[in-house]
Symmetry: C2
Subunit: 460 residues, 2 copies
């Protein structure tokens, strides 16, 4: 569909003229440095050429104005939040308009009694969590990017995080949305109640749609009580597979941990060689709520015969120390080069098998792979670190990535557990969805965005 | 759209001929008693005339055959499970084909390691829960109809239940679906992993779509560990409003109960006058998991100053006794007449206000209303009991129902928390959705079912 977009040679000049006429004066930028700063995300994707302009939206009306004119002229629009995406979902090529929502950053309402917040799309996730904290509440989804990424971007990708082992992904905290359709119509989906079944679940349909069905401008979000207690364990293992099997034992014991993070030997080495000296894999498990201590004891009991060592604490500062290796993993890999973070998920009982196969793929292609996993979700992040001086990804790295995706599908899993398809994984999507579901995606896309102006070339 | 359906006078004879030719011999029934037994649900709705035929599907191929021929001839199809719906979603009028999925009742897979089940649409919900129990797992959603209703019907209405206070509604346990589209194409959505963001969330789009977008034939469902412990409290109050306010105090204390059921005086009276002698409202709260005892103690502490009496137990048999009044409520009302169960949800802090207004509406129209509530969800069931001998609902009852819906919307709530729109609430849907969202529903419906053959006149 993207072929039908932006074909008119006069459209760029016309759309810029109309936007300059109809938007407040501080919204539109065509400065090349601004364009360059807003044409991609943290995926490393480099689009062809620069976008036409960046619109810094401050109000839903700005979004409506942009889409109305873009729709009438067939100009592609690429919405973006903070640009922290890892799949190229915010990559904006020549001829497109970037719709920057990071300036729509007001917390419109925080209702402690009903445990919900209404926020604009540009609110930074950690800021909402902090605001909720003043009322003994929290916003449960915690993507690793939470300190920078926006709620709108989190919703557009249905972001995960550490705590989704127990509290679910972004979708599970979105009660309703305000969004602008391709033609500029403002629509509200969902509700303020925790239950409700009137009409179709358009809230879920837009969540994770990567800006291809509508532009999300604000959201009604569920908040949850801050747990009264937490207990954290760190367990060391002789191999990643042993740690993965230990994570199955936690589930088998009937415990749902708040998080279960798994780091392999190469990651530990990158963080601190002294860590790797303690084991070839580290599993950090946190339980929370009134039963945290009891649950952590049950976890320690099932881990003990499988691990080489287990440490445990109910003290928050000590817990942070146990989690420190996980938090330092990405910065440590960034010191080695440019990390390309893959994001497959498999049925959680296949975690060990996935890790073993990934190691074989890594060896076969001579591409070192570092692996982190949200073990309770079966969500693996195999990471290839490339030389930042390289202009493009080496062929071997691409081939290894392709084999990792094929592996995920073969194990009954998915190409992307929480980062989204963006542009990077598009070529594998049809295989995961199958022809019937792919056709259904097309019909939904055409129904909502008949001209294909919304983030063309992304998602599927 | 339904106007375009079934307009050809020869279509009925042709579709019956094609189905007789293409379906296995035991599938098709045109016996008037079978038609009458399959033309409505527990809503009390009586459709105009009888359907053309009932197809007792046993395999997904049967569903494909029915839809392929119905689509080519423009014949409406009404899918049904056990017919326990309360909104008329399975009501099938003259000229339609009933597609009965209750015979597709195989549990195809139960994977204890990955805590999931793959089941056909006709599996009875309680049967799945029992099968899971053999592995220390359970299927969390527990609609009151669980002993009779089917998984397919639960998914089509996105059914709730008691435990959704903590474990979410049906949607939160559906990982993936197999469904047949209007033209007979079989499609698979979702996945076997707990996380995954490839493509649009078509699983959620179909969940709760009341048979209007596709016919669900099987589902991959999430199972959860049976909680290691539970603790139950029954608290008595001088008024429903006092009990409602007490339920806010539970949330404010940071406790997420597994269930919080509220019964008003008239319901208690119907179950047993001796119960009403103890108070004008009963709130039954259950906490579960490793922290159940600690949480129940916290709940007892916040309820004590607000209640007239609080009883508490960690013994399962005593817990059942405390919950007995709730379980007996509907059978007790059925002894008084035909209960019409409404199903509004409001932001949970408006529960007391909603109950007060419902009482005023009841008095104004001279229509006695009995009220149950899932207090933690703000989901109220105001119940009007009518004389079963009456051919139609008295005007006063209709007017009271209309005012109750208007009240729900005025309080920021919804027409239906968990039962669905069906035919009964259709006239109020546009008001809840608003024109833009309503238009978007239409576009989605037209994209998936361009001829409007799937359950026409239901949902919206």
């Amino acid at each position: 569909m993207s072929a039908s977009v932006g074909t008119s040679a006069v459209a760029p000049a016309r759309v810029l003229g109309l936007l300059a006429r109809d938007l407040p004066p501080d919204r539109l930028s065509t400065d090349p440095r601004t364009l360059a700063a807003h044409c991609t995300d943290r995926s490393g994707t480099r689009p062809d050429g620069l976008p036409l302009a960046v619109v810094h939206a401050r109000r839903v009306q700005d979004v409506g104005t942009v889409l109305r004119h873009a729709h009438s002229l067939g100009v592609p629009v690429v919405p973006r939040g903070a640009g922290t995406g890892l799949s190229g979902g915010a990559s904006a090529g020549e001829g497109s308009l970037v719709l920057d929502l990071s300036g729509m950053d007001r917390v419109l309402e925080l209702d402690a009694e009903d445990q919900l917040a209404v926020v604009e799309a540009g609110v930074v996730t950690a800021d909402l969590d902090r605001a909720a904290g003043a009322h003994g509440l929290r916003y449960a989804p915690d993507p690793a990017s939470a300190a920078w990424s926006t709620i709108g971007g989190n919703i557009a990708t249905n972001a995960g995080g550490l705590r989704c082992a127990k509290y679910g992904v972004t979708r599970d905290s979105v009660l309703g949305l305000e969004a602008v359709l391709a033609d500029g119509t403002v629509v509200r989906t969902g509700r303020r109640t925790v239950k409700g079944v009137t009409g179709y679940d358009l809230t879920a349909l837009l969540t994770g749609s990567e800006g291809t069905l509508a532009v999300i401008t604000s959201a009604t979000l569920r908040l949850r009580p801050v747990p009264v207690a937490s207990a954290t364990l760190a367990a060391w293992f002789a191999s990643f597979e042993a740690a993965a099997r230990a994570s199955y034992a936690i589930a088998r014991a009937g415990v749902v941990p708040a998080l279960a993070e798994l780091l392999d030997g190469p990651v530990l080495e990158a963080v601190d060689p002294a860590l790797r000296a303690r084991g070839e894999a580290l599993l950090v498990v946190q339980c929370d709520g009134a039963g945290a201590g009891v649950e952590a004891a049950a976890v320690a009991e099932v881990l003990a015969p499988l691990a080489t060592a287990v440490e445990r604490t109910e003290d928050p500062a000590e817990a942070e120390a146990l989690l420190a290796a996980r938090r330092q993993a990405l910065p440590a890999l960034e010191r080695l080069g440019r990390p390309l973070i893959e994001d497959i998920a498999v049925p959680r009982s296949r975690l060990a098998e996935a890790a073993r196969e990934i190691r074989a793929i890594s060896a076969r292609h001579g591409v070192p792979v570092f692996t982190l996993a949200h073990a309770a979700d079966g969500n693996l992040h195999p990471i290839v670190v490339v030389d930042p001086a390289l202009d493009r990804l080496p062929d071997a790295a691409w081939e290894a990535a392709g084999e990792i995706f094929a592996l995920a599908l073969r194990l009954g899993g998915t190409l992307t557990g929480e980062h989204g398809v963006g542009v990077l994984k598009r070529q594998w999507v049809a295989e995961e969805l199958g022809p019937a579901a792919y056709g259904l995606h097309r019909r939904v896309k055409e129904a909502l965005d008949p001209l294909g102006i919304l983030n063309p070339g992304k998602g599927f």
